[in-house]
Subunit: 429 residues, 2 copies
């Protein structure tokens, strides 16, 4: 792995060079056409695109609930146990995210509050092929269930040999409402606008390739979307007390996801840097996904040596990684030093894959530096808020002058008159 | 006003016809060019665009804090009082939105939690000319302050006679960090990418014309944005007990905002419908913004008569209005019937403009049916969440099998090995 030994200022510039841009005008155009065709032609367009892109001719689009039951029955007992354990912990964690609104009735004649309402219908995109992750289905669907969403509509690209049983079993465990075998930009269009078979949703969540991501961005506004996710990332902060073999294994666990994944170690120890770099090369050799991980390590990953722990945190906050491991002694003390990260793994035993599967927090996390302004997927993504007020006549009278002053300052006479109309004919008006 | 007397099913279709699409490919292209130029040329591009679009030649871009002080000194005592009252109530309400994260330490050896962190720097767009609303500055900046945002960077188009004193005074009252006189798509580009003068922000909020809205959509992902706001809307649910004059005044208070604003009354009373329609025509005659309100009323607004109160709510939830007035007896009882609305005004004295200015809840609200999945602007828009976990070796060991089972099912061998590396050399591994 490349090791940098630069100043903090210089290193911040280098970090910026590793940032990738993903806009592709040709894809934008193609996706816009797909969306328009699905919008106007509905199911017919969906079937023709699936034939063209996924080489599958479909009769019906829906996968029946008995097919989900059957898939669940046929997976191994170990996988059943693992899915159930993950489900249990995800629910336990995400219930802590539930919000309940509030009401304020402290002032005479005034009630003001906020009401929390679940979204009615949500779409969940699940990629096909090797990127079809059962764990991701749980991570997306369970927070929606906890929020109280009525219907979760899952879509996933059709496969020649049928959709993977582990995916269908996870859909069953997560309790999704219906599964349709459609994929790509056409599936996003169907969820956003509805077709004869696919019900229109209020929000679309879930990962996908560049076509899916572009389509999500294009339908944003028509429906809500979770985020435009980039390749996976891990950042590790470690000092000389850390175990080089374990750090290398953790770096590789993200590198194996995608050639564009990035794995970053920031340390104050030259010895550790050298040891981890050597370990990464060594462990890489025996990985089944070596071809992918190798590119990610060579082109997108690095080790940076900083002078102090304080500088290590400053640089890492600038990176704003999706996953952040803190492999320092007494790691909890550094929680306040972390400003930008999706999910934090404290100490030697919080290896990143623990968070991917069973720890409980969500594994759908902000990537590409967006942890500076985005949160993990959560129950809060599946609710919305509505404010409400009720005023007595006397309470309104007290605010009358301020309202009419502001309205007339802004040139909005009808605003002033609307409030004044409540006092027409009163003596004291 | 147009009065419909149709079935619920028919009426839902009619509502859809009133929905507007706002994509304009020519503007998209123009905005993309502006963004690219600001990104590469910085301040120089900003100054040249301001000369071209706003016809103002600028030396410096910043409006000094002493200019804000001066503006505040020069506004009327009534306006000072009104701004201070609004500030007081907005703060009181929005403090109830503060979130604090959580920690769960119930299970042996396991700590899991969520940390809430304010965004570091936020940009606030304030339109120029007649759409420059002091109240909107308070509504956008105060929730950011309460969230704990370090810096609020306000931008507003330069004016030949200088930016309106009420706007600068509101910036002072709201406590924004710095004000720059730039506007349009170029201002959004500057906030998203930074220039020599303008610091790059993490999120951009605030209303604007189609160029501003398009630019916000294009930089989304690079930074966060609040929402792509459409024209203002009011929906009113009323029965025969309501006052036609007051309802008409409230409908007009939204119609005066924009020719594309919409004002919708849904009632079960033909008598009320006729009376409100007549009152709207009458009150319209004497409005200073008659030319605007008239178009909104004629082209975008209507009254719908439904058979029952239940149908009235069903149709209104389909509209999902930005502002919803419930002018029914004992209105609080209907809170649970409201699924989709930005802000709700209960009863005779909760006239909509009360909420625009001083009641406390935010007046930046989801428009165009997006209340189906969006919330009012709030403190939650200026924070982000980070999950964290810490596990003991024993706690990790208990989850080991589930993790490796899921990892290998998903074909992610390096994930399994990363966790197993923690037990290398142990007897019981």
């Amino acid at each position: 792995m490349k090791i940098y030994n630069e100043s903090l200022t210089e290193m911040k510039k280098i970090v910026r060079r590793y940032t990738i841009q993903t806009t592709d005008l040709e894809i934008e155009k193609q996706v816009a056409q797909i969306i328009e065709k699905v919008r106007t032609k509905g199911d017919e367009a969906l079937k023709s695109y699936e034939k063209q892109f996924d080489k599958v001719e479909l009769d019906g689009l829906r996968i029946s609930s008995s097919q989900l039951d059957e898939a669940y029955q046929n997976i191994s007992p170990d996988l059943k146990d693992a899915l159930q354990l993950a489900k249990h912990n995800i629910i336990a964690y995400h219930k802590m995210e539930l919000e309940h609104g509030f009401i304020d009735a402290k002032l005479p004649g005034i009630i003001r509050g906020q009401k929390v309402t679940p979204l009615q219908r949500v779409g969940l995109y699940v990629p096909g092929g090797t990127a079809a992750y059962p764990s991701t289905i749980l991570m997306n669907a369970l927070p929606a269930k906890i929020a109280g969403v009525d219907e979760i509509i899952m879509v996933t690209p059709p496969q020649k040999d049928g959709v993977a049983p582990a995916v269908l079993a996870a859909a069953k465990v997560a309790g999704v409402t219906a599964v349709y075998q459609i994929g790509g930009a056409q599936a996003i269009a169907a969820l956003a606008y509805g077709t004869e078979s696919i019900p229109r949703v209020n929000k679309i969540v879930g990962p996908g390739n560049i076509f899916v991501a572009t389509a999500k961005k294009q339908v944003f506004g028509q429906v809500a979307i979770d985020m435009v996710a980039g390749p996976s990332e891990i950042g590790i902060l470690a000092d000389q007390t850390a175990d080089a073999k374990q750090l290398a294994a953790d770096l590789l666990s993200q590198a194996e996801h995608d050639k564009r994944a990035r794995a970053i170690l920031i340390t104050n120890s030259q010895t550790l840097a050298t040891a981890v770099s050597g370990e990464v090369e060594k462990q890489l050799m025996t990985l089944p996904r070596k071809a992918i991980a190798e590119v990610a390590i060579k082109e997108r990953s690095f080790i940076a040596i900083m002078d102090s722990v304080a500088e290590m945190f400053t640089l890492m906050n600038d990176v704003a990684p999706e996953h952040l491991e803190v492999q320092l002694a007494d790691p909890m003390q550094y929680l306040s030093s972390i400003r930008n990260a999706g999910s934090v793994f404290l100490g030697k035993y919080a290896s990143e894959p623990l968070g991917d599967y069973v720890a409980g927090p969500n594994h759908v996390l902000p990537t590409g530096g967006t942890a500076k302004f985005s949160s993990p997927l959560g129950v809060y993504d599946f609710i919305k808020k509505t404010s409400f007020i009720q005023f007595s006549k006397e309470a309104l009278r007290k605010d009358l002058k301020a309202i009419t002053t502001l309205a007339r300052t802004e040139g909005l006479e009808a605003h002033a008159r609307a409030v004044e109309s409540r006092f027409k004919g009163d003596d004291d008006q």
